[in-house]
Amino acid sequence: MIIKLEQDLSRKDIEVLIKYASINKAVERITMFLQSVDTCIKCNMDGSEKLVNASEIYYIESVDKRTFVYCEKCVYRTEHRLYQLAEDLSRSGFVQISKSCVLNVNVLDEIKPLLNSRMEATLINGEHLYVTRKYLDNIKQALQGGL
């Protein structure tokens, strides 16, 4: 794959042109990734609204029917439902890892088994999350698609 970067001071927005002989998995993945860069979630913090880019999100958790968006250092609240976000962000590398948590696999570092037939996911910032067994396949598929 040849990547060319060209600076054009007259442009206001970034333009990406993909040249290909035929649409294959690689082309689809690049398109998906580029689309995910532009995917934003409307969040609230301290009464003010903010659009958070999907690539900045580490994981999304639902606690007492409230949805929280966790980034590297900040935590936001969103009005979106967890299942809705899981569906909308599935193309951006987000997978459900338990009934109440959706994880960005791009920030996943490692998975360890625990004694109680559960698992623990370690994120790149050292944070730990519980993983339920029935969602293991989701993680595997997301990683296989992203390689």
Partner: protein
């Protein structure tokens, strides 16, 4: 679907081996063909029910296991009543012990499978990290 069918066949196989072992211990000499199909029927019902019980998630794994075993025993009592297992010489207590034994074996197999999945995921993660490091 494939995993579901494999689970039914595996649990039926374990049931028949356990049944034969319990039978041998009590000097029985053969298993009826109908027992094989009754075991298969019970295992289909149990595995179908597990699809529902697995929707329940608790932070306590013991609670989930108790729910699964409780459901299994209910199905066995229903099948035992319908097919006269209790009057044909299988006491309820033996049936419960067998159910717990079979469930524990299934759980153990599941844990091995889980470890295989975890290893595969960690391998994919290492591969991804190596790729991104070599690009830098």
């Amino acid at each position: 679907m494939k995993r579901f069918l494999v689970n039914i066949m595996a649990s039926t196989g374990i049931t028949l081996v356990t049944l034969a072992s319990v039978g041998t211990l009590s000097n029985a000499r053969f298993l009826f063909i109908s027992s094989v199909f009754q075991s298969l029927g019970a295992n289909i019902m149990i595995n179908l029910g597990f699809l529902l019980t697995r929707k329940f998630e608790s932070s306590y794994a013991a609670l989930e296991i108790t729910l699964d075993i409780g459901y299994t025993i209910i199905i066995l009592i229903i099948f035992g009543t319908v097919f006269d297992w209790f009057t044909n010489g299988t006491p309820l207590l033996i049936l419960v012990i067998m159910a717990v034994l079979i469930y524990s074996l299934g759980l153990l197999i599941g844990l091995f499978r889980m470890r295989e999945d975890i290893n595969a995921i960690n391998k994919l993660l290492r591969k991804r990290n190596n790729k991104s490091n070599s690009r830098r």
